[in-house]
Symmetry: C2
Subunit: 174 residues, 2 copies
């Protein structure tokens, strides 16, 4: 029985295999999309390096923040297009961030750029319109949480994040 034949009889996706071997986490309720997570982590990294006068390149960045390199490239392209970071092409090229951007950019802006939108007014159980006038049964409990979250995203600037104590993501000490 050839390997090809073997493969034919046990056709299974990689994720199914991982799941059955318990190597894969079950679904987890995440606040952000993967793209957003990578964008935030990358932005923090680039900002820190920029403050030190260093330019970061794609390989460095994706290693430091442990993200898939080609997917990260796409995300950085989006950030460049929206002038959150700027890029230099060619040898010794890479990505940098202006001090002014570091000082003023909010988390919320980052999320809006990557996810195209961020709603602070959507009903938690998907009502057409969320309002205090016609609240769903969860509105009361949910409203203050949503407000806190929204405020946090708007008020937190990148500069605050890079001023924190050092911490590790993957192999890299920030």
């Amino acid at each position: 029985m050839s390997p090809i034949c073997f493969e034919f009889f046990f056709q299974i996706t990689l994720s199914e295999l991982k799941k059955s071997l318990f190597l894969l986490d079950k679904h987890i309720e995440n606040m952000f999309s993967k793209a957003c997570e990578y964008a935030i982590r990358a932005t923090i990294f680039i900002a820190k390096e920029s403050m030190k006068g260093k330019r970061s390149n794609l390989t460095e960045i994706s290693k430091a923040i442990t993200s898939p390199i080609a997917f990260t490239a796409k995300i950085l392209q989006t950030l460049v297009k929206h002038k959150i970071i700027f890029s230099i092409k060619g040898a010794r090229g890479g990505f940098e961030m202006l001090p002014q951007t570091i000082n003023t950019l909010s988390l919320k802006h980052l999320v809006v750029v990557i996810d195209d939108d961020y709603s602070t007014t959507a009903c938690i159980i998907g009502l057409n319109k969320c309002s205090s006038e016609n609240p769903c049964p969860l509105h009361e409990q949910y409203e203050s949480i949503r407000t806190d979250l929204s405020k946090m995203l708007e008020e937190t600037k990148i500069i605050q994040l890079i001023e924190k104590e050092s911490f590790k993501i993957g192999n890299h000490l920030f």
Copy 2:
């Protein structure tokens, strides 16, 4: 030029068409998956009907909560499997909920059953492990929000939701 030919030259998905006509909302940061939204809405509906001694069937339910009927069927099957509701097959069949379940079931339980898991310990920017010992730069701002949300989901029971004032979802007045 036949319709077939027309279709060939302008091959476009329905969602692309809707997007370009602004009929489709952009991505919105939702708290729950669609499946969870439908599950919560359906559970509220079934609970209310059960309290009145009425049995609800699939058609009624999905009309009332404005959800796709076949997808809703799948979700209800899951709820039955986990004994959140129970079903009666055949003519005059449908779904019902026991008073005891209505009184004790929490939102969190519902979410766990539908999404397979619900994490209250995941790092907001995807660090391997979230902890106060090795916090990411967002940990401090995020922790209290996450705790509030988690507490809300655990403490809110279905009975509280159906005791609320009436409200509308789609065409149905709850």
